[in-house]
């Protein structure tokens, strides 16, 4: 068998094959890295955009509830009658496949996701009726209820 160790015929084919494999692997690794990076970037952009839209929709609902509450409050002040203002803001459960959190502050709504980490703050005009919302809400439908006795809009789920 020692003659095989001295035999160098066909070595170039093996080397060529290995080189081809290496080059192919490099190319594929590059492609996968680039594509996954693209996906990650696009995902963040889409989440950012969706959270902005959701924030604006929630803000519009809050202001709408505020207008209705003002009308109802003025009526109740005059007549002493009962008042009901209940509004449901229909919001999606997930944005780009991930859940999100909502935090309502004074004049701002902050929406955030953890994977990937995106945070969006939407401003809205200050409401005439104070908004009572404690802590963070899970991204989903939100109920806005006017409490005449406390003169505030309670936001919960």
């Amino acid at each position: 068998m020692s003659f095989l160790r001295r035999d160098r015929r066909g070595v170039s084919v093996t080397v060529g094959y290995v080189l081809m494999l290496v080059v192919a692997m490099l190319m594929m690794a590059t492609l996968l890295t680039a594509a996954s990076g693209l996906m990650e970037g696009q995902s963040e952009r889409v989440i950012d955009e969706e959270l902005t839209v959701i924030g604006n929709q929630l803000a519009a609902n809050l202001n709408e509830a505020d207008r209705l509450a003002q009308v109802a409050r003025a009526d109740a002040d005059t007549t002493g009658g009962s008042v009901t203002v209940r509004r449901t803001a229909r919001l999606p459960d997930r944005v780009a496949g991930t859940g999100y959190l909502i935090e309502i502050g004074s004049g701002t709504i902050t929406l955030s996701t953890t994977n990937p980490t995106v945070e969006v703050t939407v401003s809205y005009p200050e409401t005439d009726v104070a908004i009572a919302s404690t802590g963070q809400l899970t991204g989903s439908d939100v109920r806005i209820v006017y409490d005449y006795s406390d003169d505030e809009l309670d936001v919960d789920q």
């Binding site: 066909g10 692997m25 594929m28 594509a35 509830a65 007549t79």
Partner: protein, 323 residues
């Protein structure tokens, strides 16, 4: 010469060649699958982005505006009903009650067609009042010819107080001198008076000046009367002729509800007037003023419901109440 021993040996074993062939290309296959997954995900993200843009252009709060609009329409409709009853009929609360009850199912049915629950129902019974109208000649003096006289006393509420005056009958004055001899409507309230003097300014304008507690009058607003009858809407803060209309932003009605209404210098104006007062008031018994039964107000419960909104309120409707 190429080395073919291994291939021949493999062929002799009868298995090696096929197994090698099967093993080849796995790297490509896995990469292709991974890329496919990534591209499909990107396509889904793009889809989500397009859907988001679509959602962003939708108005999700239209039903709130519709609820407020429904309430406004209802206030207008019942207000019109009350005024029709007072002016064209005999001002009976029973008639208004029957008309509102008759409207309830119609409103319900109309909105059911559009997938909303909307309702109106009478809360209690309509409140009765008195409609006081001018029945005298010219000018605005009482039956005994007195220029200063009291129209009504003991007022809790009053609404829709309008005067149609002939500008040619008015005294010519300026705001500062209007309290000398111009016609005025005086509102007595706890702790003082507010008087609105109505006069022409000598340049084709009818003006109203307000004096508080007998102080110097200040002009509230003016309208070019064009020689035609001009309406002074004291509760609506408005002057109008057939051709034009002026909002009196400074106001023509006192801030505090008046307890009595008087006319001063009634000889300096001619025309007609009308005011609706609540039932507790004591109007003059002077024959120059018609005192007729009227409906002062009606209280209704308003309901408007959609899948996303529930709005219920109770409204007191008294058309022409001071703003």
């Amino acid at each position: 010469m190429a080395d073919v021993k291994n291939r021949i040996a493999a062929a002799d074993r009868g298995v090696g060649d096929d197994t090698d062939r099967r093993n080849r290309g796995q790297l490509l296959l896995i990469t292709a699958l991974a890329l496919t997954v990534i591209l499909v995900t990107v396509a889904l993200l793009l889809n989500a982005a397009i859907f988001t843009e679509n959602v962003a252009t939708r108005d999700t709060t239209a039903d709130g505006a519709e609820a407020i609009e429904f309430r406004i329409e209802l206030v207008d409709a019942v207000g019109g009903l009350i005024e029709t009853e007072n002016w064209r009929n005999d001002g009976q609360t029973d008639d208004v009650e029957a008309a509102i009850n008759a409207t309830t199912p119609l409103v319900d049915r109309q909105h059911a067609r559009y997938g909303t629950v909307a309702g109106v129902s009478l809360n209690g019974t309509p409140r009765s009042g008195r409609l006081l109208r001018w029945n005298g000649g010219t000018p605005f003096t009482d039956d005994g010819g007195n220029a200063d006289w009291e129209l009504v006393d003991g007022l809790d509420d009053s609404r829709n107080f309008t005067l149609d005056v002939d500008p040619d009958s008015l005294a010519t004055a300026s705001a500062a001198t209007s309290d000398n001899d111009a016609f005025g409507v005086r509102f007595n309230r706890s702790g003082g008076t507010v008087t609105q003097y109505i006069y022409t300014d000598g340049s084709g304008g009818l003006a109203v000046a307000q004096a508080v507690d007998g102080g110097t009058p200040h002009r509230q607003c003016r309208i070019a009367h064009g020689g035609a009858t001009t309406t002074v809407d004291l509760t609506g803060d408005r002057l109008s002729t057939a051709d034009s209309d002026t909002e009196c932003f400074r106001g023509l009605w006192p801030d505090d509800p008046p307890e009595a209404i008087e006319f001063v210098s009634g000889t300096a104006a001619a025309g007609t007037f009308a005011v609706t007062v609540d039932d507790s008031a004591s109007p003059t018994t002077d024959p120059a003023v018609l005192n007729e039964p009227a409906v002062y107000s009606a209280t209704v419960d308003v309901v408007y419901q959609t899948p996303d909104l529930e709005f219920e309120t109770t409204v007191e409707i008294a058309p022409g109440e001071p703003r």
